[in-house]
């Protein structure tokens, strides 16, 4: 898992790319994840990983690594994103790496 293993054709990558760029799409993403995933044509395994906020699995499926902390910020918010922030701790927990307590 790393930038060399990412899959630019994966539907999740397009979904993340677009929701960060467009306030309307972002709102729909937050309001109805299922509808957004369906609209972007995610596969069942991708959908399952999103439902479980399984950030590590998304990486395995080919989501670009750079997007993975952004997923944690989409879920937990992006402000004051220090190492003990909710987003950073979510990332550490889901990736099973040591974070700061």
């Amino acid at each position: 898992m790393g930038i060399r293993d990412f899959d630019r054709t994966l539907a999740s990558n397009r979904m993340i790319f677009e929701v960060r760029r467009d306030a309307g799409k972002l709102q729909r993403f937050h309001a109805d994840l299922e509808a957004t995933m369906a609209a972007y044509g995610l596969t069942d395994v991708e959908k399952a990983a999103w439902r479980n906020v399984d950030i590590h699995r998304l990486g395995e499926l080919g989501v670009h690594p750079y997007f993975l902390p952004q997923v944690s910020r989409l879920i937990e918010g992006a402000a004051y994103n220090h190492n003990k922030s909710a987003a950073a701790r979510l990332y550490a927990a889901k990736m099973k790496i040591a974070g700061e307590e």
Binding site: M1, G2, I3, R4, F6, R8, T9, N13, R14, F17, R20, R21, A23, L26, G59, H64, P65, Y66, F67, L68, P69, R73, G77, A78, A79, Y80, N81, H82, N83, K84, S85, A88, Y91, A92, M95, I97, A98, G99, E100
Partner: protein, 283 residues
Amino acid sequence: MAEIVAIVALSHAPGLTGWLDRASASVQKNLLAGYAELGRLLRQAKPDVIIGVANDHLLNFPMHAIPDFCVGTASRWTGPAPWFQDWVNVPPYQVAGHPDLAKTLVREGAREGVNFAFADELLFDDNWSVPLRYLTPDYDIPLVPIHMNCVIPPLPAPERCVEIGRTIAEIIRMRRPAGERVAIMATGGLSHDPGGPKYFAVDEKFDRWFLDLLEQGNAERIMREVTIDKMLAAGDGGTSELLAWMVALGAAGPRKARTICYEPAVELRCGMGAVAWPMEAQS
């Protein structure tokens, strides 16, 4: 012929504007002092325009068509992009562009073998929002942003990035009007790993090795030794942003860089550093 009056490179990690208070007092002090000095250097050179070079961060290049380099041709830029605003913690700003210079780069680049994409709309995240906040806090120097691909393999090779920098410098000197003063500002790096297992780590040894090489001013050796493999090993998700520094290096030529500051700031999840290449005072 126009003149290149300043060439600088610096880290742009969002922690510098977003959660700097979480770093130790000495890290805060050294980085603030370093970035302030870099800003003074840059502004004292009185550039008419800054050509910026930075990673696009998967924000503007769509997954289905990733250019290596994209020149911003708009006459006015705004930032930060909405979703990034609370992350970078930088108030909304506007900065002028320079369409004429930008289009010169695109047109003349094509003649010199460089396939520059170009765009009138580019979203800005930490790549410009963090550096501009410290270096040009009045947002009063026009910016030609060049977004590049630093993290979607295949990446432009270090040799190619240096060559692009040389080409940009040559275009400025040969194809821009006399009297025009141009600064080059590369942003990105140093070691960091957004999205990888080293998210909470910094590779200080790599960073100091790279900064040492820049201080030696040997572009050939840097192209040979600072491989993409080594950059990825020092932090897979972000360290290859140093390819932007390679562009600045190409423009700087054989000059020796001076390190203004460096801190292996784990609290900011990034090796934070800034360098300047001393330019002969011509005017």
